[in-house]
């Protein structure tokens, strides 16, 4: 394969993947490193890349400290109960105490944030959410990142991290290829901030055929943050904590504004309230500490997202589906009706397309809801990601090793979905994490931690050979058959993805098995995964575009393998409604009030699992919640 090697040398801060996390990192890095070389490598175009490419109609993480609304610890408590206790409270507190300044910067850059005309504060959708006209959220934020960066390399699919050869377990940059020219790109850097995103499309989606791209999280979210870090040997945490979303059927349009702002609610197919009847049995499973509807009603403590899913799943299984969102009341108000539609156009246009196609006018018809296939990510109501150091003024010793948001690989930092244990960061919190990582990365360099990094030609050449192997495989074997996609020597990326999704669905608790798995299934799944891993050595790509899909698939595979190991390790059902361990159908605080931490040995591929202690913030009293929330 005759592709040029293009080397970008002497980088101080390399941002891999510039969604909201990566743009935050690039932006902030310039302030702390005014003379440093800051480079972005992004597989798409940063003006429309990452999960916010399409836009957003709300910023879901804003404290409103300026307006006396919430303190950071209030948000920590909210995330804690929503995730059934399993969060990194040092990282969450840190994110929450900084997140408002990100939002105020966005407003200054031109992001239209709606105002509460009476109070003068931002218009609240819920306790944590504010409403925006965010069609151009991503391009506005990308402009700021672009101004800070020395160079932006769009259309570079980063496949691997480079590792230092003079000191073990220290990062040295990254490599990848240009999805247009095919050229091989080498980025030699003192630090890397990984913001390459969570994973859609690893569990079989409900949609079939052409609609397979209609996933809740963007189809380009290929789990590359996890794939890159796992492959390099970074420790991961909470990878079992996949998320299932209750959303409008087929279009997966968001429900937040509907519940919180439009005050719509759900009922079963027969017009009945269904949720409360599932709670007594569910309380037996998880304990009163995590589900107490009376306390929730009195104190506005939210019912965890997974437990609300549980009620939907069970009601549908009991034969009283579908679940409907009752919109017919709210939509009689023309102002609320308009908000309902704008909400989709701002972030999930496809839902508007679907309702237009199916003549669903929510003014006269209550639309259907469904529970989605699971997703692996770390910034919504779930906290998968790398095991990262927290800030020095908050973190206990087990959570601290020198630099905020640094993974267990020296010089490798995370932001957004890449960081584990920090759910409910959403767009603004991910951007904030990028900023925190950037400041820490500059300090790491200024402290002299990145001296003497050495990357050999051999490492660079070895990666190059690996990267183009799928093209080579295609070239060698495709003419052995007359035509078509069936070949005994290889599979193409789509075939590999289908196999992965089927396996994740059937053995790891996808929608097809009602989110159920157990130790037996997981062990069988792991065996099949290792064979898929062997076959992925023979994945073939007919062109550069397919080579992109091949590497996305490899990142999804590494993510999935980690999910399998974590799910097997945690011997309890911690999040009913996200997934169930049929062999241990109870939440078990005695043995599993811990975070799960894994490491894949880069040399052998073997996994080791450990438990890490959970720390919680204590010592103050919850303020009365000012706004009702779900």
């Amino acid at each position: 394969m005759n592709y040029s090697t293009i080397i970008e040398d002497n980088i101080d801060i390399l941002v891999v993947g510039a969604g909201l996390g990566g743009t935050g990192a690039a932006f902030e890095a310039r302030y702390w490193g005014q003379n440093k070389k800051i480079v972005i490598a992004e597989k798409a175009n940063i003006m429309r890349s990452g999960a916010v490419a399409q836009g957003l109609y709300a910023i879901n993480c804003y404290m409103g400290t300026r307006f006396g609304e919430n303190n950071p610890e209030d948000h920590v408590r909210y995330a804690r109960i929503d995730l059934m206790g399993m969060v990194r409270e040092d990282l969450l507190f840190d994110m929450a105490r900084h997140v408002d300044s990100a939002v105020h910067n966005f407003e200054e850059w031109g992001l239209p944030i709606m105002r509460d005309q009476k109070k003068g504060s931002f218009l609240r959708e819920g306790r944590w959410q504010i409403m925006i006209h965010g069609e151009s959220y991503k391009p506005i934020v990308a402009e700021a990142a672009k101004k800070s960066a020395d160079k932006v390399f769009n259309r570079i699919c980063v496949t691997h991290l480079l590792m230092d050869e003079s000191k073990e377990n220290r990062v040295a940059g990254a490599v990848g290829f240009n999805v247009r020219t095919g050229n091989y790109h080498v980025f030699k850097s003192k630090t890397v901030i990984c913001g390459a995103g969570g994973a859609s499309n690893i569990f079989k989606p409900r949609s079939v055929g052409e609609g397979a791209g209609r996933v809740w999280y963007a189809p380009w979210s290929s789990g590359s943050a996890y794939g890159l870090m796992i492959e390099a040997g970074a420790k991961m945490t909470q990878m079992e904590n996949r998320i299932v979303l209750a959303r409008f059927k087929d279009g997966y349009g968001p429900v937040g504004a509907y519940f919180l702002h439009l005050k719509t609610y759900t009922q079963n197919g027969y017009g009945e309230e269904y949720e409360s009847k599932w709670f007594p049995a569910l309380q037996q499973m998880v304990g009163k500490e995590y589900l107490d509807p009376e306390v929730s009603h009195r104190t506005h403590r939210p019912i965890p997202t997974c437990l609300r899913n549980h009620a939907i799943i069970n009601e549908v299984n009991a034969g009283r589906g579908p679940i409907h969102m009752v919109t017919m009341e709210a939509f009689q108000d023309p102002h609320l009706e308009e908000i309902g539609w704008h909400n989709f156009l701002g972030m999930t246009v496809g839902q508007a397309v679907l309702w237009a196609a199916t003549d669903v006018d929510p003014k006269y018809e209550n639309p259907e809801l469904t529970t989605s296939e699971p997703y692996v990510m770390g910034s919504h109501a779930t906290g998968c990601g790398a095991w990262c150091s927290g800030p020095e003024d908050i973190s206990p010793k087990e959570y601290f090793w020198g630099y905020n948001r640094m993974t267990t690989i020296e010089g490798l930092f995370g932001a957004g979905d890449a960081v584990g244990g920090t759910p409910h960061a959403f767009s603004s919190g991910s951007f904030t994490e990028g900023r925190l990582a950037a400041k820490a990365a500059c300090k790491y360099i200024d402290d002299g931690k990145a001296e003497g990094i050495r990357v050999s030609e051999a490492q660079i050449n070895r990666r190059k050979e690996q990267i183009y192997k799928p093209l080579e495989t295609y070239h060698v074997f495709s003419n052995e058959v007359v035509a078509g996609s069936v070949n005994p020597n290889f599979i193409n990326p789509r075939q590999g993805l289908d196999r992965l999704q089927k396996m994740m669905d059937e053995y790891c608790g996808g929608f097809g098995v009602n989110y159920m798995t157990n130790d037996k299934l997981l062990n069988i799944g792991l065996k099949k995964m290792s064979i898929l891993g062997e076959d992925l050595e023979k994945v073939a790509a007919s062109d550069i575009h397919e080579l992109l899909r091949a590497w996305e698939l490899k990142h999804r595979f590494l993510t999935s393998e980690s999910v399998f190991h974590h799910t097997l390790f945690r011997k309890e059902t911690r999040w009913p409604g996200y997934y169930y361990r049929g062999d241990v159908m109870k939440l078990d605080d005695k043995n599993w009030h811990v975070l799960t931490v894994s490491r894949r040995d880069p040399k052998t591929g073997e996994y080791t699992m450990e438990k890490a202690p959970l720390y919680h913030l204590v010592g103050d009293v919850e303020k009365a919640a000012p706004v009702d929330h779900h």
């Binding site: 902030e28 310039r30 302030y31 798409a44 402009e143 609609g211 791209g213």
Partner: protein, 160 residues
Amino acid sequence: MPTFVYMTRCDGCGECVDICPSDIMHIDKKLRRAYNIEPNMCWECYSCVKACPHQAIDVRGYADFAPLGHSVRVIRDEEKGTIAWRIKFRNGKKDMELLAPITTKPWGSATPDLAKVPAPSKEMRDSQLLFNEPKYIRMDDGGLHTLQSNGLEIKEGVQY
């Protein structure tokens, strides 16, 4: 809802190819016009539709669940700072026009150049503060929240 491109409107300029987050808008080598090479990796994000200078790109709902005969069109205008939508139902009974702002500032004019702002002091470097903080969090009312300032401890074990 996968995108498609009208033959008579596309001039092959490649704006859609440049912006597509999923890398699925490509130029057909023979026809020299753009098309969606991989509809099942399309998120119907409308990035290409908005970027097309000729309104040559449209969306037809996914064949596996969306019936034919609907339309959701859009014009995004950075100069005016607006986005205009028109939604038409299959049965023709609903035809909505919706308008929203996309920015409050002339495009790209308000982002700061952090290479040119005064460099942070050593004191600020050693603190937990980020650019523009604490002012951008709390106006001039107090500093950054800490465990101490908020009367908190971080404690190991089972707490709810």
